[in-house]
């Protein structure tokens, strides 16, 4: 670490731990990441990351474009497997399992680590089917009544039920952008994952839909661990318990959100947060 990025206050925290603790948040470990590196062919996109992600928290990943935050997010449910030429080293541990081993079934992992994407991507099915599909495939429901229940609960949790309850059998694509994104969130929570990854979930939405989804994240963290990538600093400040600042494939600072935005430990993070670059 060079002078600029060295922490300025207090001591260096333990490896992977946030610099300052958020006393209101839970500290049960959900995902442990140690020395995680990733290469796209020859170029290294992630350089030895260490981070502990806590259960039933919102953890925001911020940083300038191309800093590796989305790539890191996709390591957590092995979506990077889909890209040819990707090589990963290091440990991503969840529930006592190293997720990057051949023994770990990536389909099972994704079942427990759900994901919401930048652009809403509802399936070409009805609203009802969009949600019922995965629980049915995963044998989470056996009877029709159970299925209806799951769909209603997921839609209620996603704050969409009132808006769509009369048109459950219309195609998912008939909804507005913000509704589609909430449908995708409902779809993700219907399978009862432990973790939900959100990759800039509001970047394609209008401000009102964005606010709705931010409220939703706040509610959902009672049930789920949420890791979100965002370009929008205010959003991180509003919704996150912890924030990690990424730069050029490294985590420069991992801190309690309030501290991060009021009194960052590193110069780089401060420059980015105050808008000097990025």
């Amino acid at each position: 670490m060079n002078m600029q990025t060295a922490p300025r206050h207090g001591q260096t925290p333990e490896v992977g731990q946030p610099h300052t603790r958020n006393e209101e948040a839970s500290h049960d470990l959900s995902i442990r990441v140690r020395d995680l590196s990733l290469w796209y062919g020859q170029s290294q996109a992630l350089k030895g990351l260490d981070i502990d992600i806590f259960e039933k928290n919102v953890t925001a990943l911020i940083g300038p474009s191309g800093c590796g935050k989305s790539t890191f997010l996709r390591c957590l449910n092995r979506m990077n497997d889909l890209i040819p030429g990707v090589r990963i080293e290091g440990l991503v541990e969840m529930d006592g399992h190293d997720v990057n081993t051949a023994r770990m079934d990536e389909v099972a992992l994704r079942r427990r680590v759900g994901m919401v994407f930048q652009k809403p991507n509802p399936f070409p099915k009805s609203i009802y089917e969009n949600i019922a599909y995965a629980p049915r495939m995963h044998d989470l429901v056996s009877r029709k009544a159970e299925q209806d229940e799951v769909v209603e609960k997921a839609l209620r949790d996603a704050g969409l039920w009132e808006e769509v309850k009369d048109k459950l059998h219309q195609p998912g694509t008939s909804l507005s952008g913000g509704q589609q994104q909430r449908l995708c969130i409902a779809r993700a929570i219907a399978v009862q994952p432990d973790v939900i990854l959100m990759d800039e979930p509001t970047s394609a939405l209008d401000p009102i839909s964005t606010a709705t989804i931010e409220d939703l994240m706040d509610k959902l963290k009672q049930q789920f661990t949420i890791v979100t990538v965002t370009h929008n600093m205010q959003q991180a400040a509003r919704v996150a318990d912890y924030t990690a600042f990424f730069h050029l494939g490294e985590i420069i600072e991992y801190n309690d959100t309030r501290t991060m935005f009021s009194n960052p430990a590193t110069k780089k993070a401060e420059d980015y947060i105050t808008g000097r670059y990025g």
Partner: protein
């Protein structure tokens, strides 16, 4: 022979006039320019304009004359017509030369003429469609004057045998009356098309799924053109293959199973036609599956679906309009396919549900009616056009529906390469 020589003479004279126009025009323009006057265009452009002014009207006059002779039966002796055209060319030459003038926009004039020539070329494709339509409709109408449309559509016996007697004015001499009930022909056509689709759609679609979703890139770049070889083999070759190789195999297999099969069974042409059609389905389906946005796949995989489930439940439903559209095109192709059935299917109109029997198709009867030394006026010959009319209508509607479906798909996913 006389006409040919006259035509050669005419072309030669016209070419000569054109050359004269070019060089005179250029010389005059160059002279004007040399005298220091600013002109709107280059000397070459004036020269070309002079050529167009010379040749254009002359060719137009001779063509109009030719059409007048053909269409209205006007009696214009060819030598007079050609001579007249040459006179027009000479007049055109003089007008063109006159226009070589500093104030004349030769370039724009040429541009206008070229635009009209290009429009004319573009209209030829429209004329072709209308040509097909009219040629079929007129002859079909003549057929329907002899035999009722209703009998044609609903009749179950196709027996044109005696119609040549009727054409020769000896209708009462034949044993039985000619019957034109097209149901057995359409039944045969649909049977063979159905067999072809049973082969082509599963294999083509699954091959497309493999190429688009599973295959390594190298396999895909190799497999797609290889499959398309199947579509490039001439249909007459497939016909030979079906008749000589496949049909005996089918008969042997059927016999081994204790069934009776004709050598002109419907299975052999059906299967071979299906093989031919595989690349139509696989290529288009592959394109369509590839243009299903990746975000759909990721959305499904992120829910913990396996790759197979993602393909079956998300990708294929999304690609369905395109796949249906490809299948409709394939059906239209199979309905109109001629050589395979002419060579491998039967000649006997046979209304049966057993694909191992011989049966005939619409296209086979069209060919049968139009080959050999038949009187063009006979009902049998004209029946080919009635069958052609139905074929035209069915394939045209299938194509249109298919185009609309693919357009819907394209708008939905905003892809432009389909």
């Amino acid at each position: 022979m006389q006409t040919n020589q006259l035509l050669a003479l005419f072309s030669g004279a016209l070419l000569l006039l054109g050359l004269i126009a070019f060089f005179l025009g250029r010389a005059k323009a160059a002279r004007v320019r040399a005298s220091g006057t600013a002109m709107y265009a280059q000397p070459d452009q004036y020269a070309w304009f002079a050529v167009l002014a010379t040749a254009g009207p002359a060719v137009a006059v001779s063509l109009i004359g030719a059409f007048a002779m053909l269409l209205m039966g006007a009696e214009i002796p060819t030598p007079y017509l050609l001579a007249g055209s040459l006179v027009v060319a000479a007049v055109g030459l003089m007008v063109g030369m006159n226009r070589v003038h500093p104030d004349f926009h030769a370039r724009q004039a040429i541009e206008r003429v070229i635009r009209w020539i290009l429009i004319g070329a573009a209209l030829i494709s429209i004329f072709t469609t209308f040509g097909i339509l009219f040629s079929i409709v007129f002859e079909a109408l003549r057929f329907f004057q002899m035999h009722s449309f209703w009998d044609f559509i609903t009749g179950t016996v196709w027996n044109p045998g005696a119609s040549f007697l009727a054409a020769a004015g000896r209708a009462d001499e034949g044993g039985s009356a000619a019957l034109f009930g097209s149901v057995p022909l359409f039944a045969g056509t649909f049977m063979i098309t159905a067999i072809a689709m049973l082969v082509a759609i599963p294999i083509g679609l699954l091959a497309a799924i493999y190429m688009a979703e599973f295959a390594p890139k190298r396999v895909r770049t190799l497999a797609k053109p290889t499959l398309e070889v199947l579509a490039g083999i001439p249909t007459v070759v497939y016909g030979f293959f079906a008749a000589i190789t496949v049909a005996p195999i089918i008969v042997n297999v059927a016999n081994a199973l204790g069934l009776d099969a004709s050598f002109n069974n419907a299975v052999a042409p059906g299967v071979v036609m299906g093989i031919m059609i595989i690349p139509f389905i696989s290529s288009l389906s592959d394109d369509v599956i590839n243009s299903v946005p990746d975000s759909m796949r990721q959305g499904s995989l992120a829910l913990g679906m396996t790759k197979g489930e993602t393909i079956r439940d998300v990708v294929i439903p999304a690609a369905l309009p395109g796949i249906i559209s490809a299948s409709l095109l394939a059906v239209s192709r199979a309905l109109g396919e001629t050589m395979i059935v002419v060579m491998a299917a039967g000649m006997r109109p046979n209304l049966t549900a057993n694909p191992l029997e011989d049966m005939t198709t619409v296209t086979v009867r069209i060919v049968a009616a139009l080959t050999g030394d038949l009187e063009f006026e006979s009902a049998e010959t004209l029946s080919a056009f009635a069958l052609g009319l139905v074929l035209f209508g069915v394939t045209l509607s299938l194509n249109l529906v298919s185009v609309l479906m693919i357009r819907r798909f394209r708008e939905k996913y905003r892809v432009n390469n389909l």
